[in-house]
């Protein structure tokens, strides 16, 4: 089969899964919905592998294939069609998305077992994967926007999956609103580019770009900046990042899905996909790099003080996505996409392990109440350590090779990019600290009550289920989390994907080792063949120097964390008191929520109230509606008099009227 046939099949299976589970949700008992969903994604993954093999069977020059199912419309030069693009980049993304999603589906089969919305959950989950696959396989701007918006809608449904939980529904709305802002950016950006190129097709656009646009032409820069707005909203970059930590309200596997495979990587993919545009508009690309650098530092500093286990991991995602955005913006495409891959392995792993701990805590997420789970959850502990080491960039874990690949590229480009490289190293230091703060606080120290009970063999159950954020009492009916909690140690569907991801997080790096192996760069080369930045790579020795520095920094970070939270357990309190103002800023997340509230939410609310009290009530209801009804009422009152209800009167009028008309014609015809 040709690669494009596989491409269509990749999209078909998750869609079928959604429809099947969604339509027969009441008839599916037990774990059937979960296994159907998993099967759909597994088939999709198999097709992605098929596409990979079919693509590798072709020569390098012929690895960009478009396929059109039908044209929606081709009037006035708009070539809107249902078409996909199969090239190394989209196949690479489809493999990661479907592969990691498949493991997350398997995990969810057990994790969500007791939830009353079990089949609804899997219908949403399949739809989420379908949307993301549509996004990465889209062959034109139109389909890209459709996939982009579907991902936003799916994330809304899954973040507010526990729809009776107020915090969850609010978080879902926040995510949706910010994502729609990104959609608008993407649509307008497309307009700016379409105006000049006259085609929606991606390959056609890339072919035209060098001829149509001059270097840094105003419209192109504007278009690229608007595309970046879309990328920032989806990838949670400053200042559109505030939805991501709140998105932790969703079930833990959803967090894993959003953070590892789908959604947040979309921004990175978008910039990599649009690289011919960004290379023609370096001004926009620089904005992307700077924002990525700022985000990685801001997110890392917040992650150090946050006490919610899932939110720490969420901020680490923002930080890591910052590296990737920075990487793709400066031209380190294969390095950034390599990091995207390894990150999806270890981040999914971290979330799955976190889910296991949260289950063991009976739904509680605060690090302040956790401790000493090392013996109670040995398997989760090992997985978390592996994920943590990969995240903080310890050799020889995968994160070490990929992250430092990006930083080495920044250093190689020199000049102002050197500053971004230093920010990258600073971020790496903070990553080591916050990752191991999390590990030391959750797994080491005195075992908490729940950990001790679990060591005795009884999983903890809260007497009354509560919302971990607000402490409100809940029941276990549909719309709230189910009554039972599942830990990885006791449920093989949770254990197997975690083990698989742990192995991948360790060995995933072998695909790209400087001087030894560059499979990813070679595989992606046809996509980036027209790039002038991609050939300008750092030498192997510079790469290894970067890797050595990165390793040293990671070890330093972990050592600092060890000293603060293990050797002298009171140090963190002392530091907090010493740097109280800094702590306040960080614990309030740099006041981004307040800033957005002040700049956007309040003016919007104010204008809404103004429109309600003045425009609606005075101008519309009073002026327009009032005067129109007045005229109609007066007019009808005058005409009503003629309607007496006397039949003879009407008859007389008819006779007189017809006689009048007849007379008129008689007189006019005779005269």
């Amino acid at each position: 089969m040709s690669p494009t046939t596989f491409g269509w099949l990749i999209l078909l299976f998750p869609l079928l899964g959604t429809a099947l589970i969604g339509l027969s949700s009441r008839r599916l008992g037990g774990r059937a919905a979960g296994w159907i969903g998993t099967g759909a994604i597994a088939l999709s993954f198999a097709c992605a592998i098929g596409a990979l093999i079919a693509l590798l069977g072709r020569s390098e020059a012929h690895r960009e294939l478009g396929s059109t199912l039908w044209n929606y419309d081709s009037t006035v030069g708009v070539d809107a069609s249902l078409s996909i693009l199969l090239d190394p980049l989209s196949v690479f993304m489809a493999l990661i998305v479907s592969g990691v999603s498949m493991l997350i589906h398997v995990y969810s089969v057990a994790y969500m077992d007791s939830d009353r919305g079990y089949s609804r959950y899997f219908a949403y989950l399949n739809f989420f994967v379908f949307s993301m696959l549509l996004l990465v396989l889209a062959g034109n701007f139109l389909l890209l926007i459709v996939g982009w918006a579907f991902v936003g809608a799916a994330s809304y449904m899954l973040i507010s999956f526990w729809y009776r939980r107020k915090t969850a529904t609010r978080a879902g709305m926040k995510a949706f609103v910010i994502n729609v802002l990104g959609d608008v950016g993407l649509v307008f950006g497309t307009f700016f580019i379409f105006r000049h190129t006259g085609t929606l097709d991606l390959l056609g656009t890339f072919r035209d770009v060098p001829h149509v646009f001059t270097h840094n032409q105003g419209d192109l820069v504007a278009g690229c900046l608007l595309l970046l707005v879309g990328a920032f909203a989806k990838s949670a970059q400053v200042p559109l990042h505030t939805w991501l930590p709140d998105a932790m309200e969703g079930p833990t596997p959803v967090s894993a899905l959003i953070h590892a495979a789908t959604m947040v990587t979309a921004g990175v993919y978008l910039i990599a996909r649009m690289h011919p545009l960004f290379e023609q508009a370096p001004a926009a690309a620089d904005v992307g790099a700077i924002v990525g650098g700022a985000t990685l530092l801001i997110a890392a500093t917040i992650a150090i003080v946050v006490t919610d286990l899932k939110r720490v991991i969420a901020y680490s995602t923002m930080s890591q996505i910052g590296y990737m955005i920075m990487g793709v913006s400066v031209g380190a495409y294969s390095a950034a996409l390599f990091h995207l891959m390894t990150h999806s392995f270890f981040k999914a792993l971290l979330f799955m392990a976190a889910g296991s701990i949260i289950s063991a805590m009976g739904g509680e997420q605060s690090l302040d109440r956790m401790g000493g789970f090392r013996r109670a959850l040995p398997f989760t502990f090992i997985c978390f350590i592996i994920g943590g080491l990969a995240l903080s960039g310890m050799p020889p874990f995968s994160g070490w090779l990929s992250k430092d690949d990006i930083i080495a590229f920044l250093d190689h480009r020199g000049g102002a990019f050197e500053v971004l490289g230093i920010i990258g190293y600073l971020g790496a230091l903070l990553t080591g600290i916050y990752t191991f703060r999390m590990i030391f606080r959750a797994f080491f120290g005195k075992p908490c009550e729940q950990a001790r009970e679990l060591e005795q063999g009884h999983p903890f159950h809260a007497e009354v289920p509560r919302n971990p954020q607000t402490g409100e009492e809940e029941d276990t009916d549909v719309g709230f989390p189910g009554p039972d909690h599942h830990i990885a140690e006791r449920d093989w569907p949770m254990k197997v994907p975690m083990a698989a991801l742990a192995v991948l997080a360790v060995v995933g790096g072998v695909l790209q080792i400087p001087g030894v192996d560059d499979s990813i760069a070679r595989f992606l080369a046809p996509t980036f063949a027209d790039s002038h930045l991609v050939r300008d790579v750092p030498s192997t020795s510079a790469d290894w120097l970067g890797l050595a520095v990165g390793a040293a920094i990671a070890i330093t970070g972990i050592a600092i964390a060890y000293r603060i939270w293990i050797v002298k357990p009171g140090t963190s309190t002392k530091l907090r008191e010493r740097f109280a103002p800094v702590y306040t800023v960080l614990v309030n997340k740099w006041y981004f929520d307040e800033l957005i509230d002040f700049l956007v939410v309040r003016p919007a609310q104010w204008s809404g109230r103004f429109a309600d009290s003045v425009l609606e009530r005075v101008v519309i209801a009073g002026g327009v509606t009032g005067s129109v009804t007045g005229i109609v009422r007066a007019g009808s009152a005058a005409v009503r008099r003629a309607q007496t209800g006397f039949v003879r009167y009407y008859a007389a009028l008819v006779v007189v009227g017809i006689s009048g008309v007849a007379l008129y014609f008689l007189i006019s015809s005779s005269g």
């Binding site: 005409v639 009503r640 008099r641 003629a642 309607q643 007496t644 209800g645 006397f646 039949v647 003879r648 008859a651 007389a652 006779v655």
Partner: protein
């Protein structure tokens, strides 16, 4: 005989009918007067048809009769319905459709 006389008779019958419709309050009489008006028109149609020597007017007159029969059926039905509901057979009192 000149056509004029036929028309005079026709106009006379028509005017009697119209006067009856507008002045009499009893619906039965109104229906009768309506019939007069229709037949006045029939008379004019037949007269004109004779004058031109064609048969179109005759056909029209027949059609008018059919329509008149239908109309009388409906009208009489209405009158019977009004009578059955023990309401006054007086069109001046049936004036609930006033504005």
């Amino acid at each position: 005989m000149a056509i004029g006389w036929y028309l005079v008779v026709s106009a006379l019958i028509f005017c009697i009918g119209a006067a009856g419709v507008t002045t009499r309050p009893n619906p039965l009489v109104i229906l009768l007067c309506l019939e007069l008006m229709l037949n006045a028109a029939n008379l004019a149609l037949v007269a004109f048809s004779r004058m031109w020597g064609g048969e179109d007017g005759q056909v029209f007159a027949l059609i008018v009769m059919v329509v008149a029969a239908c109309e009388v059926t409906v009208g009489l039905g209405l009158i019977v319905a009004i009578y059955r509901r023990r309401m006054a057979l007086n069109v001046d009192e049936l004036n609930e459709l006033h504005g």
